[in-house]
Subunit: 357 residues, 2 copies
């Protein structure tokens, strides 16, 4: 936890609220179970719990995911220090039906952490209850109040900086970032994850939701994260959106120029041909998207796309062919880090930068 830059919380043992969403619609819950170092006490999903006894491993066939009980209510979970809201409905609202569990957690003195648009700290009932029981409410999407414009200093850090970038939203940038960090650490490389969105922040325990900053300060906020972690050997900066996205490309650009990475990993979902939710906008051929990132990086801090991460989870077969096609189009090594881990991607980064393997 880097207090200067974090929406600082040290969660201790956590319970994860994912009512009616686990596992498929609970990206944050899965991210924490798969990638965070925290000890997880339980997942709250009343629908699953009502249907019988479950643990996470009954539902997710992935041995990198912590196996914990699925319970129906906060007071049925083993003791925990922090309740994490692990689902995000479209629009980022807070579902009224979650109030009971949040209040039960606060009454037990547990902190509550959320990455929603809805701010826990704007809810008078929660604020009062938290004060009464000495608990904290943490809204991880809320940026620090003292952000400023970028000084253009990120390229000066000694650490090797890798950025994950995408052909679209939801193409695996957060997941690829986590897998790169895991694979690099497994080799003994001193690696920091640099989270720029709410799930990444919940996984890593620090970071800034760049999309929520004032537009003029977005690059500066990214620079602050990178310079705060500059004493590590490798930083993996989570990208957001896409340069070819009609709504989010500004955030993408701010992270690219704020972080000034040495190398990029381009994330794509196999078969995706149009921008998700903006179907009249075609995604250009992946090689052209890669060139666009490189062209935009170049005048500020040159960086090449050195590896490709392909999300193949919707493919029933043809995974190897899809990976080969993707790697050929980019002319770099490609892998699906969820299926295969990120070892091949770390190899490509070591090959392309001065990072010691």
């Amino acid at each position: 936890m880097r207090e200067a830059t974090a929406l600082g919380f040290d969660p201790g043992r956590v319970a994860i609220l994912a009512h009616e969403g686990f596992p498929d619609r609970a990206k944050t819950a899965l991210g924490v179970l798969r990638y965070a170092d925290y000890d997880v006490a339980a997942v709250l999903d009343r629908e699953l719990a009502g249907a019988g006894d479950h643990t996470v491993r009954d539902l997710v066939a992935d041995d990198r995911v912590q196996d914990v009980p699925v319970v129906g209510r906060a007071d049925e979970a083993p003791a925990f220090d922090t309740l994490v809201i692990g689902i995000a409905p479209i629009g980022g609202g807070f579902d009224r039906s979650w109030r009971g569990d949040v209040e039960r957690a606060l009454r037990a003195g547990a902190d509550v952490v959320a990455g929603l648009h809805y701010r826990l700290n704007d809810d008078a009932a929660f604020v009062d209850l938290a004060a009464e029981h000495g608990a904290r409410l943490v809204d991880v999407r809320e940026p620090p109040a003292d952000l400023t414009v970028s000084d253009g200093r990120a390229r000066e850090v000694d650490a090797t900086v890798v950025g994950t970038v995408g052909t679209d939203c939801s193409t695996g940038k957060m997941t690829t970032t986590c897998e790169l960090v895991r694979a690099a650490r497994a080799r003994g490389i001193d690696t920091a994850m640099v989270p720029t969105g709410q799930t990444g922040i919940l996984v890593a325990g620090w970071g800034i939701a760049i999309d929520r900053t004032v537009a003029d300060f977005a690059a500066g906020a990214t620079e602050r994260l990178v310079t705060a972690a500059a004493d590590r050997d490798l930083l993996v900066v989570e990208g957001q959106g896409s340069l070819v996205h009609p709504a989010y490309s500004g955030v993408t650009t701010s992270i690219l120029h704020g972080a000034m990475p040495d190398a990029l990993v381009l994330c794509h979902q196999a078969g995706r041909g149009a921008v998700h939710g903006y179907e009249s906008f075609a995604i250009p051929p992946v090689g052209r998207v890669a060139s666009l990132y490189e062209s935009l990086a170049d005048p500020v801090a040159p960086a090449g796309v050195v590896a490709g991460a392909l999300d193949t989870h919707e493919l029933d077969d043809g995974v190897d062919e899809a990976l080969a096609t993707y790697g050929d189009a980019l002319d770099v090594p490609a892998a699906d880090p969820v299926r295969d881990g990120a070892d091949a991607l770390v190899d490509a980064i070591v090959e392309a930068t001065d990072l010691e393997p």
Copy 2:
């Protein structure tokens, strides 16, 4: 004034505060005097006024600038309805020495309008005085509270949309925007200025300071402006920053993809070789900057650089050569719109788009 999108104010007759800054350090004051339709009562500059009787034309040799008296205090000016803060110190603060004039204006019932980082509406003394005298405090940098993400609809508008873009900050994007609007209107083209920064907002009387919006909403705010003005024949969208700027490129990208222009005018200052204030970042050759804008526009809404605007005000001689060199590098017509007006640039826009001349 478009109420739905404006930080709405109808200023009536204005006085412009520019203490110790007029004319060279009072970009907003000069912009309003040169381009706004408002009737200006006076410029306040106590240093100039103390040195003798002046009018604006004694100090600015430009017959497009309104000629009004320069006075030392608000109560020495002819009657006015609105006091506009026409200077912006580095950092955007409010100079304590301006309080007297703001208070004198409020006591006389005049509204006060500012585009500073410092919010007039956060100043309790001003708020009380304004309430007492029925005056309004308007902070034009404050974005509307109900912004959302872009829907990707700007490319559907029937109007021809032109965007001014730059090789850097302070290369004449706002001025070129104003000159394009003036030249197009002089031909009878129904033209709207689409302001994205505080000076443009003060000149045009509507707009949103895109750099102050939440990063995720910056393209959506631009889209809102463009779609609100879609019933005109020509929209000229003021750009911000530069794609090659380490700190502000995200805002630049959001405006480009939010506005989805049909054509671009690239603004550059003759002789500028590095990013202002970030001198270790070289500005690439102008042709490469133009290509970068076109490459980034292409996947969302294709647009070519169809004309070049060159700020030559620091050149003592060699203006014609500089313009020829710039036009050749871009392979489009080039002009300095402050020296020559924007007629040649409008010709190039008519040539390249389906706008009726």
